[in-house]
Amino acid sequence: MVALFAIYLIINLSLNLQLGYAGIPNFGLVLAVTGGAYTVGWLPIRLCMWIFNIDSQLGADIVKNNALIVSQINSNIQAQPLIGLAVFALTLIVAVAVGSVLGFISAYPAIRLRTDYLAITLLALGEVLSIIGQNYDPLVGGVIGILVPDVWSWSGDSRFTVVSLVLILAAMGTLFILELIARSPISRTFRAIRDNEVAASAMGKNVTKVRMEALVIGSMICSLAGALYAFYVCYVGPAAYGRLEWTFLPWLMVIFGGLGNNFGVVLGTFIFIALEKLIVFYKYAFAFLPFDVIWLEYLLLGSIILVILIFRPSGLMKEKPSQTMPETKLEEIVRKSGKE
């Protein structure tokens, strides 16, 4: 639960930056998430083969010999954990770069569109990587997918604890950075454009450029989350990166928590993941039902969102106005201007 919470939190915070602050309805989150995961499916295995000098005959068909290669790499990483961590860090950097490129490519034709058109266009473009991944085997092994070297294999029995800790740290780091952004002038520009494009444009803001920046930054963060998830599960397959799990659910969590409020997003994500795990945990108590219990979960989530949208559209925690200066200073300025 901790790992999944951390991964979804990173994606949801990214969506909050794009949707909550900049007003960009990115219905194509899955594109960047998949981009990050595919980077992990493609790069580390090749990098480790080169570093550990794995038999080149095996490397002739990485997909076919995948299990053998990965087991050899994992043994090497167990002996030299620092190399594993270096590969992990380098892959994350590449994944973030891939995310920025994907964000730019998907945004370029669509960013000037009206919000609903933009959402629909991004939704359609979100499918692209999944189609490529399923059909181009050398990328991530086609429909079967590919095993990824376990960069945490050195941690042995405490692997789960170590990975969960790393993921939580990454999520907290993302929250910290995005909170800094939320209190910075760029965030105020985002909100100005979100609330009134014409007025922001009249104030000299380049609306297209700023929206593009928000989308690219958001895609970079999503790509990071996708890469972290792939390293966590040690597997990448196109079927694991569907629109429902990596676009629709994050949207629902963010709306549930509260748009434009990072802490609301944390709360929304936590409640959603806890609810999901609770249902999975008590799955066998519902064994008498003539259908899969997972559908009860989606039914419940969809219904909750509808109720939230109708009765509390601002989510659990409302957006707070950003204060440029401490309140006392603002009051002082108002007092002075009143005297003049």
Partner: protein, 314 residues
């Protein structure tokens, strides 16, 4: 006998058109992109499948029932969610999200229903194909004729209603200025309700036809929703025939275009067929953002003919 590839292409394009009609229609008349349109299509498929499984006969005779049930669900969606949000002055993005949540609810119910049919009645409800029950006419499958016929009927009916009837004028008035339409005595809620009813019904018919050509499953509509959006945007929602143009452009490019490319580049390009709608979408957004139905072809032809801007009369 017509070339089977051409038959496939026309059937696919016609089905794309029928599926997208409702989506574009409701977007045009009420300003909402309805993601739950996917679920409405799947409902149509399951209505036909259930009736076939329990009562037999031809799938086509259950299409009116598919129309009605999907239309009723669309009306429920409108009344419960869209109208409520509209009264609360929700943004278009919020309405879009609400349709997504409603789709999730429908997806769950459809999956529960499919599981129930499978576990209780031992029906192959999670993957079914009704091709065997289709008729043939002039050696061609019935779905080819039916999809083409329904496309023409729906196009003519919607075009006629929107452009030559009072209801159509009221519908268009509600899109351009709901307040003014309301002042003029038009019941905005009733016209919107009618749009959603028609849109849901069309989705139901499209869903009822689909299992005669491709495999029916609980995610049938959801697996096609991205292509439907592509068709809608490429064709343009402002004109109802834009959907047909978009459907045929996407369908023909996807099937015939891929066949042509495979001759030049080899068979490796065939699996990438689903990418074609996205490529067309990007090109449309770059060169014809209002859709191909809104392109000024006369101007383009003049530019091509004279190699520059058309001469203006002084």
């Amino acid at each position: 006998m017509i070339d089977p590839t051409l038959i496939d292409t026309i059937t696919y394009s016609s089905l794309l058109g029928i599926m997208t009609f409702g989506l574009s229609f409701v977007r045009r008349t009420t300003g909402v992109w309805n993601i739950a349109h996917a679920g409405l299509i799947t409902i149509g498929a399951y209505v036909v499948f259930t009736c076939i499984s329990f009562f037999g006969e031809s799938p086509y005779i259950y299409l009116p029932l598919a129309f009605v049930l999907s239309a009723v669900v669309a009306v429920i969606e409108y009344m419960l969610i869209i109208e409520t949000l509209r009264k609360r002055k929700a943004s278009t993005t919020m309405m879009l999200i609400s349709t997504l949540a409603f789709d999730l609810v429908m997806l769950s119910i459809l999956n529960i229903y499919a599981d129930y049919l499978q576990n209780t009645f031992s029906l192959l409800s999670k993957n079914f194909l009704l091709k065997k029950l289709d008729f043939t006419l002039f050696d061609e499958p019935g779905i080819f004729w039916a999809s083409l016929l329904f496309l023409i009927i729906f196009l003519a009916a919607l075009y006629g209603v929107l452009n030559y009837t009072k209801i159509g004028t009221a519908l268009r008035a509600c899109v351009y200025n709901p307040t003014l339409a309301s002042i003029s005595g038009i019941n905005v809620m009733h016209t919107n309700l009618l749009s959603w009813f028609i849109s849901g019904g069309l989705a139901g018919v499209a869903g009822g036809l689909l299992p005669l050509w491709i495999q029916g499953k609980p995610v049938l509509g959801d697996s096609l929703i991205a292509v439907m959006f592509c068709v809608s945007i490429v064709g343009g929602v402002e004109e109802i025939y834009g959907t047909v143009l978009g459907g045929f452009l996407v369908g023909f490019t996807q099937i015939l275009g891929t066949s042509a490319l495979s001759i030049v580049l080899g068979p490796t390009v065939i699996p990438y067929k689903p990418l074609i709608p996205m490529v067309i979408l990007v090109l449309a957004l770059l060169f014809a953002p209002s859709g191909i139905a809104k392109v000024n072809w006369n101007k383009i032809l003049t530019v091509v003919k004279f190699g520059g801007e058309p001469k203006r009369k002084i």
